[in-house]
Symmetry: C2
Subunit: 413 residues, 2 copies
């Protein structure tokens, strides 16, 4: 039996046990996890230090080390996150449809857990607790595969969570960590369709592509965000500048920040001039000739730039002949995440909403709102950029499926 | 540009055009297809004869040739099927959620097409028209890859449909056939994630496994049905015999027929004796020792039998110690399709409903009801046995996704 077979078998068993666990018990387990995290800060920080020391030896950048580092305040934040998930409505066993058929059969459609969820992520250890608590609350079992950079932190966090599960009468195998972070085992995990119902990669484009190429398990792609603002001919220029500024610079590292601004030629002079005044060198600009007339352009934008998620204070700017060119550009280069038009023209707003293929399409608002909390869905496990199963922010409901329950008194066909 | 690149590029363009096509126009196209099929029967039958002649040369079985054969009556059936799809409610642009956020942003969640759907199927040419009409009505574009056995029939049918689309002002590339049925091109198709949003294999277990192993596109698995009836200690024996008989013999070749009956030891004598009297040799039985005492058993059932979809007048029978063993057996060998308990005990009914992991769980009714028409969903593109996106019968709604439309007046974060 391979290592993944062992984890998988235990996960299946735990998933089966979870089908009879109610909301009260799940909440008690989450409360125990939140308390244990707070009570074991020194242990967590000790183990986290081992990861940080290794990271320094391996020459990890300061920014990455910062993402890896756990402090007392960050651990409190993790506990707080668990309690937020606890406070969300339990989606399981909700009746989402049903009727009595002419032959007397009663059909109910009820919400049930997906089962076993595999989550592959990079070095941020807070994902470990976030993902596990969302899976638990939605009745799912998770197999977590974090990066080797965070292995000591993750082992410690998962140990604390498993202990809390055990103490509150839940199957401890409902949360499992892939302790062997070798590539071979990651490969086995992606092909463990016998045990795992869904695989969610959380990380950069490279990780997502690798999982999509190698997995035989259904995958939900999350988090790639090549997003755009289109400044229409009928835009309020002040609004367009504010939205572009916010969508680019309020937090450039996140997936719902924009990477390209598309500008209608008739308002190019006005818009570029105003944006240049606002930014004054704060953002590096890759722009075309028209843009270069009014802004301090670093160099011309290339095809590759249009396809790049900079995640930084960098933007591509392109002047377009009209809304059709803008939509075509977005549907060609975008990652189906979040797209915005600034316009006061109803027809153009409607056309953009209908023709742009993305999870979230905005009229006159910043793309930065695509987020589980902002949409009122609560904590999210990621933002889906695929169309199958769930699109946009994935909260608890998006971690469920349904089953049909049919009751009869001897009906046959 | 490869062949699949060509089809894919045309499909993306058509999918974009389909975003502005309304219900009336889609229905007009479907009506034109229904009429054209009826008007071109002799052409269709002529092309179908070429497939049949090839099939005979290749030594295809009579049963398979029958499935391949199109007659006037069967073509009328296809037209009728298209009109049934036409009569279904258009799911597109339905508002399925939404609210106004505290910051004044209006969020709407609306139903939209998946986009481009790839369908890989075996030799039944009626699937070509069924699948295309369901995709059209739900605003999707389809790329159909049928078997080489039906290539002349499929070319003729797709030609008729494309012509009808053109005449009614829809993009003819909304329905495309992969005319090159080589394995290499099928391989390219499964990796065309640049163009195709979802891949649906329709056929046997081998086809489905191959698609799941090779595809980089999200796949919906359909149609594998290793289903069970469990006769509980508290079963009405007459009802149990009737349900077992119906679920096994009413149409053994379909996916919602059962393959194994599980019998509580305390009612084994009564049930097996009554079933033996009912069947008297009509069904071949692979049973254990207890079963063999009361039925004419062909040979003992093996582990392999439990995992086999016979699709024939063959059944495995296993005597179990109780409901837990029955549930364990089903969750181990079943394909998550349709499962039934016969019981009058409320606790056991509830336990079975909750713990059995399947798309459709029955209490006291035949598994044969798992079907789009029976459930009132209308025509189906298949019965999903996976948990992601859709479970059980997949009708028009299950061929859609959603997008969030957010309207503001300059909101930023």
């Amino acid at each position: 039996m391979s290592y993944i077979d062992e984890l998988g078998t235990a996960a299946k068993k735990a998933a089966s046990d979870m089908t009879t666990v109610g909301t009260k018990q799940k909440n008690a387990a989450l409360e125990a996890i939140a308390e244990s995290l707070a009570a074991n800060k020194s242990d967590i920080i000790k183990e986290n230090k081992r990861d940080i020391e290794n990271a320094k030896v391996n020459g990890m950048s300061d920014a990455m080390i910062d993402r890896l580092t756990l402090t007392e305040a960050r651990i409190d934040g993790m506990s707080e996150g668990v309690r937020q998930v606890m406070a969300l409505k339990d989606p399981i066993n909700e009746i989402i449809g049903g009727e009595e058929l002419p032959n007397g059969l009663k059909v109910e459609k009820i919400r049930v857990p997906l089962g076993v969820i595999g989550i592959i992520f990079e070095s941020r250890p807070n994902v470990t607790v976030d993902a596990a608590s969302l899976c638990l609350k939605s009745g799912n079992v998770c197999i977590l595969r974090g990066g080797s950079d965070a292995i000591y932190s993750n082992k410690c966090l998962v140990g604390i969570m498993r202990d809390a599960l055990k103490r509150t009468g839940l199957p401890e195998d409902a949360v499992q960590l892939v302790a062997d972070t070798s590539r071979a085992v990651a490969g086995d995990l992606m092909k463990a369709d016998k045990y795992i119902d869904v695989l969610i990669p959380r990380g950069g484009g490279g990780l997502i592509r690798s999982v999509r190429q190698n997995a035989t398990i259904p995958v939900i792609q999350t988090g790639e965000g090549n997003c755009h603002v289109y400044v229409d001919r009928f835009a309020d220029i002040d609004m367009a500048v504010n939205i572009t500024d916010n969508a680019k610079t309020q937090r450039p590292s996140v997936c719902n920040a924009i990477e390209t601004v598309l500008v209608h030629k008739d308002v190019a002079e006005q818009f570029y001039t105003a944006l240049n005044a606002k930014w004054g060198g704060k953002v590096k600009i890759y722009g075309d000739e028209i843009c270069a007339k009014y802004m301090n352009v670093d160099r011309p934008a290339t095809e590759e730039d249009y396809a790049t998620e900079f995640n930084d204070y960098i933007i591509s700017a392109k002047t377009v002949s009209g809304i059709d060119e803008a939509i075509e550009h977005i549907n060609r280069y975008g990652t189906k995440h979040s797209e915005c038009i600034v316009t006061i023209n109803l027809d153009n707003a409607e056309k953009f909403r209908r023709c742009v293929d993305a999870a979230a399409v905005y009229v006159n608002a910043s793309t930065r709102f695509t987020d589980g909390f902002e949409f009122g869905l609560g904590a999210e496990i990621g933002i889906s950029t695929q169309k199958l199963h769930a699109r946009g922010p994935m909260g608890l409901k998006e971690l469920t499926t349904y089953k049909y329950l049919i009751s009869g008194n001897g009906q046959i066909r």
